[in-house]
């Protein structure tokens, strides 16, 4: 059995067609796009085409609204810092408790600098309360930044509606859409979203390339200065090959968006149902009715995620976990904590994330090994009764270690 890759929310394989589109920009058209000679004369056209390919995928009005950056994190940081720089009198930011660290880290830092950060909580299914959001909007808020879809659970937030509300209150709106672009059809021209972040490597383009969409007319202050590139909005010589690659990847993503929402979704659903039906004390986290088509995050109670991943890896299956151990941090994932998932389950969450390269056969292979992996680890668990093959009665009381 060849290895099975189900960690596509972490990163994806670069599509062969993307690689092919990039190669001439390393070997032939390697000139600096700013130069006036034949090594560069095709490059500007390549960049222009890539811009249009990205534009088509996200449905924005102008291709000049696309700013190429080095990654999703740069796009996020640029968006937040730009918003506060433009509006020095506004000292508040609204975000959520379940954002990606690329957002939360910047907000934490701004909090130290005196900004007030409102972090919207989520319910047990990972959903936001729009009423409390509305109450937070005011003329003191510089920016709302809310992810389009959550990277761990796939839960989709109502960003289009939230952007309308922000716009009505005169507040700028940014969304981190790195997980959503290519999976959710979008038409940004019809929304009030001011800024949006894309990461190339989440949609079969290479790592090290991203996009900040900036609606025409949105006030903006560049983060990187000292060059005319990207119309002065992001200085630094263009990563031409990767930009061209990202353009191609966006074109392919647009072609496959229906496939993602039918075939890929069918694989995800089959895996999810198979696991939850077969394995007792396992459950799916997030908003089951409103999720990315490729993502499922399943909690296996009474065992720990890293152990599961190591056994999966031995079986040739790649996934990821919200357990603390996998990241070397102290707590299980902040997303699981925000949803109030109990610790004994939060530490045992496994995220399977699909792409168009996966097959139904692979799903069946995972379903074959998963019950044994869980059973093996539960045999070792102090919360599990090996004799009856059930959790011990009152697990929290039966095993109450001294915590240091």
């Amino acid at each position: 059995m060849s290895d099975i890759y189900l960690d596509n929310n972490a990163t994806t394989k670069v599509d062969r067609a993307v690689v092919d589109a990039m190669i001439p920009y390393f070997l032939e058209q390697y000139g600096n796009p700013s130069s006036i000679h034949k090594f560069a004369d095709g490059v500007a056209r390549g960049l222009k085409q890539a811009r249009q390919q990205v534009q088509a995928l996200i449905g924005c009005e102008h291709d000049s609204e696309i700013i190429f950056t080095s990654c999703g994190t740069e796009s996020n940081t640029t968006a937040i810092l730009s918003a506060i720089k433009c509006q020095p009198n506004r000292k508040e930011i609204i975000t959520t408790m379940v954002e990606h660290p690329a957002i939360l880290g910047v907000c934490d830092q701004l909090e130290k600098d005196g900004y007030t950060i409102h972090r919207l909580p989520v319910d047990k299914c990972g959903r936001l309360n729009l009423e409390s959001y509305k109450r937070m909007l005011s003329e003191n808020v510089a920016l709302v930044t809310v992810m389009w879809a959550n990277n761990e659970t796939g839960t989709i937030f109502p960003v289009i509606e939230m952007a309308e509300l922000a716009n009505a209150a005169g507040v700028m709106f940014h969304t981190d859409a790195v997980q959503a672009v290519g999976k959710i059809p979008m038409m940004l021209a019809d929304t009030k979203i001011d800024m949006l972040s894309i990461s190339g490597h989440k949609l079969h383009a290479p790592k090290g390339i991203g996009v900040l969409y900036l609606r025409r007319g949105t006030r903006y202050r560049a983060l990187l200065r000292g060059g005319h590139q990207e119309r002065g909005r992001r200085a630094g010589t263009e990563n031409t090959a990767s930009i061209v690659g990202l353009g191609k990847a966006c074109e392919l993503a647009l072609q496959h968006i229906e496939y993602e929402n039918t075939k890929v979704k069918a694989m995800r659903d089959r895996l999810e149902r198979g696991i939850v039906d077969e394995i007792p004390h396992s459950f799916v986290t997030g908003d089951l009715n409103n999720r990315l088509p490729n993502t499922t995050d399943i909690a296996f109670e009474y065992i720990e995620g890293e152990s599961i991943l190591m056994l999966l890896n031995k079986a040739g299956i790649a996934a990821s976990s919200g357990s603390a151990c996998t990241s070397g941090s102290l707590e299980p994932s902040h997303v699981m904590r925000a949803m109030d998932i109990p610790y004994t389950a939060a530490h045992g969450t496994i995220r399977f994330s699909f792409s168009r390269y996966n097959t139904m056969h692979e799903v069946d292979e995972v379903l074959k090994v998963m019950p044994d992996i869980v059973a093996t680890l539960r045999k070792l668990s102090p919360y599990w009764d090996a004799q009856t093959n059930t959790p011990v009665a009152n697990p929290e009381q039966a095993f109450a270690p001294t915590y240091s």
Binding site: E304, L311, P332, Y343, H347, P382, P401, T402
Partner: protein
């Protein structure tokens, strides 16, 4: 994925002594907030000889927690309780051919479960002696709680102070921002302000890091005074070393050269040289005279600067 040794993988994929021991007469249950791991260790102890006849583990935890538990049950089998009490977390890590710094606490959890089980057998109450915080220094596996405690106890003011007392920040230096944040926080709690412009060079007389209880000495010392003073200073540094599973003992003082033995985890640790440099720095600050600290193994060469 972590870079686990083959030994860790071996114990994880084929754990030894999994499950509870039947008719166990000693049980230790501990958990580590880091990783959310928890371990129950059960032992069957011969009441006559106090020899551990059987040991078993049940662990909720990651790969290295399961491997640490498994190897621990192997290490202690056949030991007397007194022998078992001497097993350190470093012993567990060594048997596993090392653990990543982020995972050292898994070995600490093993040692604590063992101590708790023995206390349980003897009818004593086991009390945990340390609290664990977020890992700050990845080079030397120093966590935030440890740094905070040392900043409090020793009135540390600068990143350099913290490095001298805990080793944290003495390697790749990437954690200096985090150490500054801890200094800022603790000093604010004490009603002081962290000033990054203070430097801790020995000649800087402004440096306020000397602990109160050990007053700086001004007049020249007799050899007896010097030895006493050195002992005092070593005593004040001991908690930091012991937290790492190590210790230091003074072997001999000849002139202004102090010969020391680094023991426990310090013994053979790559950082021993740096620790010795830290001790020397500290001694000079407190005693106000030049002191050279040398490993006792060098004594045969009788290096004496004086």
């Amino acid at each position: 994925m972590w870079d686990y040794s083959d030994k860790v993988k071996e114990h994880f994929f084929n754990p030894k002594n999994a499950g509870a021991v039947v008719e166990a007469n000693a049980t230790g249950e501990v958990g580590s907030i880091s990783c959310g791991d928890a371990l129950r260790l059960t032992l069957k102890v011969d009441p006559e000889t106090e020899i551990i006849l059987e040991s078993g583990f049940q662990t909720f935890g990651c790969g290295s927690a399961i491997a640490s538990s498994s190897v621990l049950t192997e290490i202690i089998k056949g030991m007397t309780l007194d022998e078992a009490l001497k097993v350190t977390n470093q012993d567990i890590a060594d048997h596993l051919e090392g653990l990543p710094p982020e995972k050292m606490h898994c070995s600490v959890m093993g040692r604590e479960a063992l101590q708790a089980a023995i206390a349980n057998y003897r009818g004593e109450e086991w009390r945990d002696d340390h609290e664990e915080g977020a890992l700050v220094c990845k080079c030397f596996a120093i966590d935030a709680v440890m740094i905070e405690e040392m900043v409090w106890a020793n009135k540390l003011r600068t990143v350099e102070d913290v490095t001298n007392f805990t080793k944290a920040g003495g390697g790749c230096a990437a954690c200096h921002e985090d150490i500054e944040a801890i200094l800022e926080k603790v000093l604010a709690e004490k009603g002081e302000k962290f000033d990054p412009s203070i430097c801790s060079k020995p000649e800087d007389k402004q440096k306020p890091a000397a602990p109160e209880k050990i007053a700086a000495v001004k007049t020249p010392l007799t050899n007896l005074q010097r030895i006493k003073k050195i002992e005092e200073v070593l005593e004040s540094l001991r908690p930091a070393l012991m937290a790492d599973g190590g210790d230091v003992e003074l072997v001999e003082v000849i002139g202004n050269t102090a010969y020391v033995n680094m023991t426990g985890a310090c013994n053979g640790c790559q950082m021993a040289a740096m620790t010795i440099a830290g001790i020397q720095q500290r001694l000079m600050e407190v005693m106000g005279e030049f002191i050279k600290v040398v490993p006792a193994s060098e004594m045969s060469k009788l290096v004496n600067i004086a």
